[in-house]
């Protein structure tokens, strides 16, 4: 609860700072300070120290899993601000407002990681979505940005409609909006099944699972790259946090046909994401598709729904955020976002190239990087269920395909000749990236450094 309140307050603070302060650079620093505060509060809450005690009337329930997700989201945002704060300033004139929106999104994240009531889910998702629509459209002169924003908005609103229909149907059978349903009977009524299906679909849309992923490439591509970076990480993992909370309490009631349904969705997601990414020319768009593919992998946790899966989802979220933010931080600064644009980067910026390589390796799931164990947990989770081994086999084959496009960037950087005009970067930026790489490798060797938080 503290996270939600403080982030909302911080959002307001940012809004007002936009009125009173006219130094652009200051906003970033305020935001960083705010995020640090937020992070501190969240960690404190994780350990049981609360600033305010609020009776949520059973609307929200705070537990370690959700709080860990919050920590990852906030830390990712902090990292994002540290790495790309400068670039946020370049998007438009409303730097303070952008940060305000980011804080509002964090507020939404806080809600969806802890909701127990479908109404909170709905509001949380909306609080995340609406600022996201706006952030997508912030590059107002850019038609692509406009287009992305409008597409995102229309499709997002449509999926909201579907979600509401789902919630309604659930209410129709149960007479309550609580996620946990007491006294479940089997087989569940068609009404409830339909409601769950529609809810599943709308959340699938939010985390961009195929065949509801179509907005993702266009939106990620059209949005200003800084915000793509943010949306691809924080917003996405928030969606998963919401998703797993829902499915965890309801999944068992859905029956074996849903297993199959989810399996199909996973395969479709992996196929769409990976195969389409193979063909891309633009790194940004490739990353958009890759984020779809990564979502497919994260779905394994929801498919398996065991401790390994949940533990892995945390790790996956962290690994994915780290790597994606690292890559985007460099990509934002590139003039040419195509693969050719990376040609010869290792010559002019060896350090950045090395860090980028580690991030890409992590996304590809190569051992010694966090991405490996992330994927490992996901696969392990499904294997542990004892069924659906074929799903795992298909998944690893697609993982091999994914190496294809990630390594295209590495190839461009290291093995191809080219001149890159890379803007000068500060030493702090470099150190930060090195730190990111170090953390990726640290998590790649000792993954339980993160997941052990779940158990104490």
């Amino acid at each position: 609860m503290n996270t939600i309140i403080v982030s909302a307050i911080l959002g307001v603070v940012m809004m007002f700072s936009g009125i009173f302060i006219h130094n652009k650079a200051a906003f970033k620093n305020i935001a960083i300070a705010g995020l640090l505060l937020l992070l501190g509060i969240n960690i404190a809450e994780n350990y049981g120290y609360l600033l305010f005690k609020v009776d949520t009337k059973g609307m929200l329930h705070f537990e370690r899993f959700g709080l860990l997700f919050n920590i990852i989201a906030i830390a990712a945002t902090l990292l994002f601000t540290l790495l790309s704060g400068r670039d946020v300033e370049k998007v438009g004139n409303y730097t303070a407002e952008y940060f305000a929106l980011i804080f509002f999104i964090l507020c939404g994240v806080g809600i969806v990681t802890s909701y127990t009531n479908l109404m909170m889910l709905f509001i949380g998702i909306e609080i995340i979505s609406i600022p996201a629509y706006i952030l997508t459209g912030t590059d107002k002169r850019n038609l692509k940005s406009n287009e992305a924003s409008l597409k995102y908005f229309l499709m997002g609103a449509f999926s909201t409609g579907i979600m509401l229909m789902g919630i309604t149907l659930l209410y129709g059978t149960n007479g309550t909006f609580m996620v946990e349903r007491a006294g479940a009977t089997f087989p569940i009524s068609y009404l409830e099944a339909m409601g769950l299906l529609l809810l599943f679909i709308s959340l699938s849309f939010k985390v961009s699972l195929a065949p509801f992923h179509f907005w993702t490439p266009d939106v990620y591509d059209g949005a200003p790259t800084v915000f793509t970076s943010f949306m691809a990480t924080v917003v996405k993992i928030a969606g998963f946090a919401a998703f797993i909370r829902l499915i965890e309490s309801r999944y068992g009631s859905m029956g074996s046909q849903t297993d199959r349904l989810v399996a199909i969705v996973i395969i479709l997601t992996l196929a769409f994401g990976n195969l389409t990414a193979v063909f891309q020319q633009s790194v940004k768009r490739m990353l958009a598709y890759s984020s779809i593919a990564q979502a497919g992998f994260m779905m394994f946790a929801l498919f398996a729904l065991n401790d390994t899966g949940k533990e892995g989802l945390i790790l996956y979220a962290a690994a994915y955020c780290l790597a994606t933010l690292g890559i985007f931080a460099v990509l934002i600064k590139m003039e040419d976002g195509t693969f050719e644009g990376f040609n010869g980067l290792s010559k002019s910026q060896p350090l950045l190239a090395a860090v980028l390589t580690i991030c890409l390796l992590s996304l590809a799931g190569i051992p010694l990087t966090a991405g490996f164990f992330a994927k490992y947990y996901m696969l392990a989770a499904v294997v542990k269920t004892g069924h659906y081994l074929w799903l795992v086999v298909i998944a690893v084959l697609f993982a091999a395909v994914s190496a294809y496009y990630y390594f295209k960037v590495i190839q461009a950087m290291y093995f191809k000749e080219g001149e890159v005009n890379f803007p000068p970067v500060t030493a702090r930026f470099k150190y930060l990236l090195v730190a990111v790489a170090a953390v990726i490798i640290l998590l790649g060797v000792f993954p339980n450094a993160l997941s052990q938080f779940m158990y104490f």
Binding site: A380, V396, F415, N448
Partner: protein, 479 residues
């Protein structure tokens, strides 16, 4: 403690190498590092069994049931020794070669050594997988960065291919893990399972395909000739001398004892595939016009024999495979060294542009001939011992198969002698007319290899003794 050092020394040396800007220093440093590793390996190999110096066990990821367990047993010793011997020799033989950004080159080489060591030392399946991939990445970079013209595409295929295989293996490992009673990856847990036949089959194929790609066994071999051809020769030496042994080793350590029933059931299939591969690769080798490609195909043929022998369910053959891994590593590195000299000095690898080199470089010719003869397993060279034992085992499994596999012995003679003739004999022609100077260190390394070839060919007892305990155990598991 020794296993840890074996991994750590190259790893640390490699990482340090990255920061040495000066070429000379980088070379010297990496050479020193590899020599230190060799010394440690020698200590390890000669240390008696049962010494607690040979194992190390530490907690790693308790929640996953995996531990950092490394150890040196007979099979591990022989491959560790190979890895440790190979790198100083490679560094020594290619000491004069110039590489762009040498620090990265040598650093990556040492990293790959660390990975290889890890593979051979791991006593935990997840750890094994970890090192398996870890060994691959530096090699990928080495090939792509310092390779030939088509290096990017070729290495790419190699990488994706092996990566896909490894991922399949990961699935198998995971599945195996869930089937262990104590939810662990430890070698003791996975070696003593009683699985249903469908479970075994699933695990068998996932693991075997990964290993088969790595070895490579027909028909998973197509990445190999291209990669060998395009890689810088020093890396090719690592690849064919040591890395392909990973696959063979893995079958012996992680496949046969783990899924014995499936292995027995599938033995016929694997052996037949392997034999087809041997003949097939030999026939193709005859038609090659490029030293590197020829050696590559010859390597496929040799590996085919190893993979056939492994599945022959025979302790002698199994031990033969272990010896042959070492011998083949030594021999093929020797061949590559000569190939490298020729390429560096004459600028071509095509037989059609070579001839009469024996007149220009008689010493090289002699050394090469010895290595070639070892390559075709002439008696009193090291590989004869291994091949004899493998064929013997194969023969006991099925004499028709051994007979057909034997054809490859003849074909090996055909292409190897053809290669010698094309490069060294005849009148001086083509690219050979230019100046030719073989450096002392290259010769020295070749001489060392030749000495190894002959010594272990005449007196293989030390190698046999090292590997004495594993084969019986592996075969016992199969029954």
């Amino acid at each position: 403690m020794i296993p840890v050092l074996l991994i750590l020394v190259p790893l640390v040396c490699g990482l340090i190498t990255f920061f040495i800007k000066e070429e000379k220093t980088a070379k010297l440093w990496s050479l020193t590092g590899s020599v230190i590793t060799l010394l440690i390996a020698l200590i390890g190999v000669t240390t008696m069994k049962g010494s607690n110096l040979l194992t190390y066990d530490a907690s790693w990821i308790p929640t996953l049931g995996t531990r950092f367990t490394v150890g040196l047993d007979g099979m591990g010793k022989i491959l560790t020794l190979l890895t440790a011997v190979a790198f100083p020799i490679i560094f020594g033989a290619t000491y004069q070669n110039k590489y762009a950004s040498p620090n990265a080159f040598y650093g990556l080489m040492l990293l790959s050594q660390a990975g290889l060591m890890g593979v051979f030392l791991s006593m935990d399946m997840l750890l094994f997988y970890f090192f398996w991939e870890f060994a691959l990445i530096p090699v990928y970079f080495l090939c792509s960065k310092w390779g030939g013209e088509k290096r990017i595409a070729v290495t790419w295929k190699f990488f994706i291919y092996t990566f896909a295989g490894s991922l399949l293996m990961l699935v198998g490992i995971l599945y195996l893990y869930t089937l262990t009673p104590d939810q662990s990856f430890a070698i003791a847990s996975v070696h003593n399972l009683s699985l249903t036949s469908s479970q075994e089959l699933f695990i068998f194929w996932t693991l075997f395909i990964a290993f088969a790609i790595k070895m490579p066994v027909f028909p998973f071999h197509t990445w190999q000739p291209d990669t060998y051809e395009q890689s810088p020769t020093a890396v090719t030496m690592v690849l064919s001398g040591v890395m392909v042994k990973m696959g063979v080793f893995a079958v012996l350590r992680w496949l046969l004892p783990v899924v014995p029933n499936a292995s027995l059931r599938m033995a016929d299939v694997v052996i037949i595939i392997s034999i087809i591969g041997m003949i097939y690769a030999s026939l193709i080798a005859i038609k090659q016009d490029d030293i590197k490609r020829l050696i590559a195909y010859s390597s496929i043929a040799h590996i085919g024999l190893m993979s056939a022998a492994m599945f022959a369910n025979n302790a002698t053959a199994t031990q033969g495979v272990m010896l042959q891994m070492f011998s083949h590593g030594i021999n093929v590195i020797g061949l590559w060294i000569v190939a490298d000299v020729i390429e560096q000095q004459l600028g071509t690898r095509k037989f059609s542009e070579l001839g009469g080199l024996a007149q220009k470089a008689p010493a090289l010719a002699i050394l090469f001939v010895v290595m070639s003869l070892a390559n075709i397993a002439l008696p009193l060279t090291n590989s004869f011992i291994g091949e004899f034992m493998m064929f013997n085992g194969l023969f006991q499994y099925n004499y028709w198969m051994a007979g057909i596999a034997g054809i490859s012995i003849i074909l090996a003679a055909v292409y190897t002698l053809w290669m010698i003739q094309k490069i060294f004999y005849g009148e001086v022609r083509g690219a050979v007319s230019g100046a030719m100077e073989v450096t002392t260190n290259t010769k020295l390394m070749l001489v060392i290899l030749v000495v190894l070839v002959v010594v272990f060919g005449v007196y293989p007892k030390p190698l046999i003794n090292i590997t004495n305990d594993n084969p019986a155990k592996i075969v016992a598991q199969l029954k």
